[in-house]
Symmetry: C2
Subunit: 256 residues, 2 copies
DNA sequence: CGCCTCCTTGACTTTCATCAACGACTGTGG
DNA sequence: CCACAGTCGTTGATGAAAGTCAAGGAGGCG
């Protein structure tokens, strides 16, 4: 965290609002102040914890997950760079943990509210982030309830590609997933063995390419979209930040 | 809709805030003005529609669902009496339709914003409603991804019981579900045939009783909670309205 | 070198969807 | 009043999809 955090948070925040220099510095200062580096697999908030902090993901991936008594767990959403996690109530309903190496600002709600007074825009932004998250969750729920393994996997890959592209972390269908197959299974609702087979089939069908752990390349977007049961364009509209109250979306679109 | 709507909306809204008489009347007036009666199965918003209205459920059940190209659909959440549905962006990511006979206020966002100026409490309330909805979705996602049919069903029944109890529409584990088994299947992510079998097993194990279409009675809460993989108490805390910003929760608890 | 984690593959089992047939119930129109 | 169609729940038979178990191999690291 030696570099400025403003631009990291930027793709979301700076792009959307016209930042007053002084105010921006204040946000920057707060984020820096509460910034922590988290190692892969390290939990930040455990399901059921009392929480009074707001999380801002400055870099890396966080997972929001829930577990059953028998230990099986399901990732409910992934929070990428620039996202804000506000646990809705006094008690968190999910476990938040780092999927990759991540730097996260853990801002006490009091401080967060203070910033919001200076930048009412933050409210609109975090509202848009929540709406996008909700859309993604709905999309994934649909496929958990009604889709087969290939559909879940195809959707997950497309979702990640779209989101990472918006952050400049994917290009021409190539991106990196900092998860092993077991964790990816927790995301798509499959056993690690079946993740392996499902990916294998997509590879041997020439739809994607996979290297190491895990560099993905989408070779055939049309085929993958078809399997996922979604149109790429509508996915972008739905999953990337939007909101009726976020009129100047252009700066965001610049990343698409 | 001949009776006052204030008390209908009340379990949520009135209970939490101390209503100024005049202001309350204004909310009442707006809700009344935009109120519509919806027949079971009738859609209100279709996935992909442009929307600029806020929905307030005055009575009945609404479903928020999504569909795959092949026509299979999944109910992502149910909105009961007193809930507020704000589609996050300019385009709705879900289809909203009536599950039972329902009366719904379709309030244009402009009017809604106007009310909020008079009652800033509404923001906190709708925030709490969204948080509860998100918790429920996470809980259901976990079971869609990782649970077997019995677990999904058991959870659904417990969730509905808890929510309806808070509205005074369930008592001693007895409540009514205004859905047939196909629609219930869309909710829990099972085929209608398997809904039938799963319910049948719960009945023959003496855990629940089912009459007609569909009156439920939960006979053995412990067994059902065990199957659902959840503790009843934590479910109540999680699913019913809460929020750090909703300090005076007592009036809500009065319904529990 | 040896341990550890993770991917891969095969064999087997479980769960659930699907297909199909039947019966109960409801409402309709003759 | 009765035939009729339509919807819905129920049940059995069958098959496909995915989980589980197990073993082997590749790579990374102390």
């Amino acid at each position: 965290m030696s570099q400025a955090v403003g631009h990291i948070f930027g793709a979301r925040v700076e792009g959307v609002i016209t930042a007053h220099q002084g105010v921006s510095d204040h946000l920057e200062k707060i984020l820096r102040l509460h910034c922590r580096t988290i190692k892969p697999g390290q939990p930040i908030i455990i399901e059921g914890d009392k929480t009074n902090t707001v999380l801002c993901v400055l870099s890396g991936w966080l997972s929001l997950s829930k577990s059953l008594p028998d230990g099986e767990s399901q990732i409910v959403d992934l929070a990428l760079q620039g996202e804000i996690i506000e646990t809705g109530g006094p008690v968190s309903s999910v476990t938040v943990e780092a999927v990759s190496q991540a730097s996260v600002a853990l801002v006490p709600v009091a401080a967060w509210d203070a910033i919001k007074l200076q930048r009412p825009d933050l409210d609109r932004i975090s509202k848009a982030i929540r709406a996008a998250s909700r859309s993604r969750m709905a999309e994934r729920m649909l496929r958990l309830g009604r889709g087969r393994a290939a559909m879940r996997m195809a959707y997950a890959l497309l979702e990640l590609n779209v989101r990472l592209e918006a952050l400049g972390q994917a290009r021409e269908g190539k991106f990196h997933i900092p998860m092993n197959q077991r964790i990816l299974g927790d995301f798509v609702g499959l056993s690690s063995v079946h993740v392996c087979r499902t990916l294998g089939r997509l590879v041997s069908d020439g739809i994607i390419r996979v290297a190491g752990q895990m560099d993905i390349e989408i070779l055939d977007f049309d085929a993958l979209s078809e399997i996922a049961g979604i149109e790429l364009i509508s996915l972008q509209r739905e999953i990337i930040l939007h909101g009726d109250d976020m009129t100047p979306v252009q700066p965001c679109a610049a990343f698409a």
